[in-house]
């Protein structure tokens, strides 16, 4: 592969960023917007994390010590909403903004002004959502799944702000997704054929289609709530002829693809990092593409596995059980491919690789418990217990979030032009790795032993395990302060990074200088 970066390095001056705050407000540059998304997500990660610390502090011992049940419910709700919509999703959109144009040899995203809008909606959406904490009646307290009628007839008045915040987040996500699709479909450099696309680009393309398919459903469901609350309709109100179960079908029709929206880009990241540090091509590239597509398609026909206990008919239980178990097949293919990529490679273990290996192992554990949960008769015992909490935190924290951390360490040299401190990075990894497992592994046990989720207090038999879990959570929380320090330290005082800091890395993003110039690939690169 050859590029023509030298050509536009000297007219960089003319096209440099504006100075001051307006640079960030008016920017249409994919790198600036990517940076905004990533910092925003980082801030939300700490806010959502703070709520998690409050939850774990209250659960440190049986009894009510620090907060009252109504505030506890607000904390679990806000923690879930902020982490899902504020931390994980914007982080992936930020990575897409930074990396997709550079990976496909495009000068920018296809729709730069919309790109600006889709980011700048978010701070307002989350300011609105967070402000509910200070309202009379408190913040939303009905869980991030906001089941009706707890979230409609019985909701605090702040639910209306919650609904509008969700609308804004949805609009932002849909615009982001349209932009990703338009960019990938139209702006690939000549010769960047479909089966040459980096897997991160592939997984994001599929994710974007999922977003476009399901975010309108979420918008619809919150609009129906709004109508029920303020305009006298009865979509979810049994007394008026509606059904609370309708809410769950609609929510999970959005919700299940949503969890894949949070994991497919992670698959792409890990598929980039493992080959780099194994110094060996990714095993089974085409099967990775097909597996990702299969997972995305299957995600539309499994939603009711979240609803095995609502009383769906026998045939429905069988269908959703079977469809869910099938997802294990393409997911297994991906894990086998990563392991085979490492097999007979030439491995080194820099921080991004450590996070990626931990991703594969711990995501697989989350996948195993997912397979267990798919078995409907057993799910009657697991459902809504800490077993489920352990399951989805295993796929989301050492899954999605570890992949984001891996990509920060992997691409930070490209973004900032500076190397992070390897010792600090590895320390951050090991603290997080231990913290996450001490937090969530014991929750499997306490769930199997019978502790329901979303309770502010529990019977004394669960005390020991909850204390261990809380200590793990404090460790994990504290180690993220180290992460923040590492990132700032890199930007301020890191050693200069070369254009390609990783020996085994492949891809167009490594062909431009570090830090990446403000404009890259204004002339498309040639791809053999």
């Amino acid at each position: 592969m050859t590029t023509t970066t030298d050509h536009h390095d000297h007219d960089h001056e003319h096209h440099g960023p504006a100075k001051g705050l307006t640079r960030w407000i008016y920017t249409t540059n994919h790198k600036d917007i990517g940076t905004l998304y990533l910092w925003f997500s980082f801030a939300m990660f700490f806010l959502g994390g703070l709520f998690a610390m409050v939850i774990r502090a209250e659960l440190f011992q049986p009894g009510l010590q620090l907060i009252q049940p109504e505030f506890f419910n607000q904390m679990t709700t806000m923690h879930g909403l902020i982490m899902v919509f504020g931390a994980v999703m914007p982080a992936f959109v930020g990575l897409a903004n930074w990396m997709i144009p550079m990976m496909i040899g495009a000068p920018d995203m296809a729709l730069p002004r919309m790109n600006n809008l889709s980011f700048w909606i978010l701070p307002f959406a989350f300011a609105m959502l967070t402000s509910t904490l200070f309202m009379t009646g408190g913040a939303p307290n009905f869980g991030w799944t906001f089941y009706a009628p707890l979230s409609t007839t019985y909701a605090p008045p702040s639910v209306t702000y919650f609904i509008f915040a969700i609308h804004l987040m949805g609009a932002s996500s849909i615009m982001g997704a349209i932009n990703v699709i338009a960019t990938i479909l139209n702006m690939r450099a000549p010769g960047m054929t479909w089966m040459k696309l980096p897997l991160f680009v592939w997984t994001w393309l599929i994710t974007a289609f999922l977003l476009i398919a399901v975010m309108p459903v979420l918008a619809g469901v919150v609009t129906m709530m709004l109508m029920d609350i303020h305009f006298g309709t009865s979509f979810f109100n049994a007394a008026g002829g509606g059904s609370p179960v309708l809410f769950q079908h609609l929510f999970w029709f959005f919700g299940h693809p949503e969890v894949y929206i949070m994991i497919l880009p992670a698959f792409g990241i890990v598929s980039a990092i493992i080959p780099t540090f194994a110094r060996k091509k990714l095993f089974g590239y085409s099967s990775m593409v097909y597996a990702t597509s299969s997972i995305a398609l299957l995600s539309f026909i499994v939603w009711a596995h979240h609803m095995f206990t609502v009383g769906i008919p026998f045939a429905g239980e069988l269908f959703f059980m079977a469809a869910t178990m099938l997802i294990a097949v393409p997911t297994g293919v991906k894990v086998f491919n990563w392991v085979t990529t490492m097999f007979r490679g030439s491995l080194t273990f820099e921080t991004p690789m450590l996070f990626s290996i931990a991703f594969v192992v711990l995501f697989s554990i989350g996948g195993f418990s997912g397979l267990m949960l798919a078995v409907a008769p057993a799910d009657f015992q697991y459902h809504d217990t800490y077993f489920v909490v352990a399951h989805f935190h295993y796929v989301l924290v050492p899954g999605a979030i570890f992949s984001i951390m891996a990509s920060v360490y992997y691409w930070l040299p490209k973004w900032s032009g500076r190397m992070y401190n390897e010792t600090l990075g590895k320390t951050h990894f090991w603290l997080s790795f231990v913290g996450v497992n001490v937090t969530f592994f014991p929750q499997h046990f306490v769930g199997l032993a019978g502790m329901p989720r979303r309770i502010p207090d529990y019977s004394v038999q669960f005390a020991d395990i909850n204390m261990i879990s809380s200590m793990g959570a404090f460790l994990f929380g504290a180690s993220q302060l180290l992460f923040l320090f590492v990132v700032i330290h890199t930007i301020v005082a890191g050693k200069k990074a070369p254009a390609k800091p990783w020996e085994g890395a492949e891809g167009l993003e490594w062909e431009v200088a570090s830090p990446a110039p403000y404009h890259t690939f204004t002339t498309p690169p040639k791809i053999d």
Binding site: G137, K280, E317, A328, F343, R344, S369, Q381
Partner: protein, 379 residues
């Protein structure tokens, strides 16, 4: 050095395991006390071991690569990156494994969905934050219906006294069931969604307003089995446990007969002449049990969420309005349920009398059970 670290790590791990074993912690699903719960346990262990075997193979290969194929050992990367045969194999094999598990699960699920030929039916209705049990069938006038709510004192929850053995898993009146009989449950809710779960029966079914769900159990051994609500249902979701008392048939029959007598007596109590002191005494306990979760023991409510009763328009205003909001609930705030369907006339009269005279409200009003009956008749 690494081996020393490794040995220390193993030692720590072993100590941890030993501590866990000593603490006699429950770390796994219960086998339970029904045929179904035993089958579910078997299914759970089957999938668990399947996952363990897959995990050992996959992580084994990965661990081998991590140890043997590291660059620092001089490993040189191979360049294979495709193999249709291998890829087909690890697509088809797992598919067969999951189909086999699904096939096994089918039969258990089929049994769990067989609600026919039951010997008796119990209706379970979820309320914020308690359960109502009714024994269906027989003479409607002496149908046994009662509420079951948390019995753990607030002082234990707030850490003022030592927590008991069954902290948060004890109720004032358990659901009493006979062993050796197929008992059908019909499950619903009066407000938000709850979920009725007793792990040892392997029964978990959502209680949904406007929908009647079915489930069943057949208990093999007498005993006390505890569970909890498992669907977030608001503030006191963590404080609405379930206790099932399983008795041999003869003892159950005796209990049910006694309960029927009690039901008839309660109807008679309604007609009795109640004094102010009797109503205040009963009213305080009934208030603490049914109202204090929201309005608080001292009637001060929670600002912005649950209105205060102390010095309130309702408690100091016309008696009719007070009776109306207790019997029919609030038209403006769904959190104030219609207690006419939940409480006896005696309890409602006592509570209203108490609310109108406690905490310095001092209206001097006395509301008797007959007043409630008359109010209902006039509606």
């Amino acid at each position: 050095m690494p081996t020393k670290l490794f040995r220390r790590g193993m030692l720590l791990f072993a100590t941890l395991l030993a501590t866990l074993a000593q603490a006699d912690l429950k770390l796994n699903m219960t086998r339970g006390v029904t045929d179904i719960s035993n089958e579910v346990y078997g299914l759970h262990m089957l999938i668990f071991w399947v996952c363990v075997v897959i995990g050992i193979i996959v992580f084994g290969v990965m661990g081998y690569s991590i140890v043997m194929h590291r660059k620092s050992r001089g490993a040189v990367a191979d360049n294979f990156h495709e193999s249709v045969k291998v890829e087909l194999l690890w697509t088809i094999l797992p598919a067969i494994v999951v189909i086999a598990i699904g096939y096994r699960a089918f039969f258990t699920l089929e049994k769990m969905y067989d609600f026919d030929d039951s010997d008796m039916t119990v209706e379970i209705v979820g309320y914020q934050w308690k359960w109502r049990y009714s024994y269906l069938g027989g003479d409607a006038a002496e149908r046994v219906t009662y509420f079951s709510s948390l019995a753990t004192p607030r002082d234990q929850i707030n850490g003022l006294t030592t927590k008991g053995e069954n902290y948060l898993l004890e109720v004032d009146e358990p659901l009493v069931l006979p062993i050796g009989m197929k008992i059908r449950f019909v499950i619903s809710s009066a407000d938000v969604i709850h979920s009725w779960w007793v792990p040892q029966l392997a029964v978990k079914k959502d209680a949904i307003p406007g929908i009647v769900n079915e489930s069943w159990t057949h208990i093999n051994e007498p005993g006390t089995y505890r569970g909890q609500c498992t669907e977030l249902c608001g503030k006191d979701h963590g404080f609405m446990p379930i206790v099932v008392e399983a008795l041999p048939q003869a003892e159950f029959d005796t209990w049910l007969a006694a309960k029927k007598v009690e039901t008839r007596k309660l109807a008679e109590l309604t007609q009795k002449d109640w004094t102010y002191d009797e109503l205040m005494e009963l009213g305080e306990s009934a208030y603490v049990k049914n109202c204090a979760a929201c309005h608080q023991v001292d009637g001060s409510g929670i600002a912005g969420v649950f209105p205060a009763l102390k010095n309130s328009v309702i408690a100091l205003g016309p008696v009719e309005d007070h009776i109306d909001i207790v019997v029919n609930g609030s038209r403006n705030n769904a959190a104030m349920a219609a207690y006419g369907a939940q409480l006896s006339e005696v309890d409602m009269a006592a509570i209203i009398t108490y609310e109108r005279n406690a905490w310095g409200n001092d209206t001097g009003d006395v509301v008797t059970p007959v007043d409630i009956l008359n109010y209902n008749a006039g509606q």
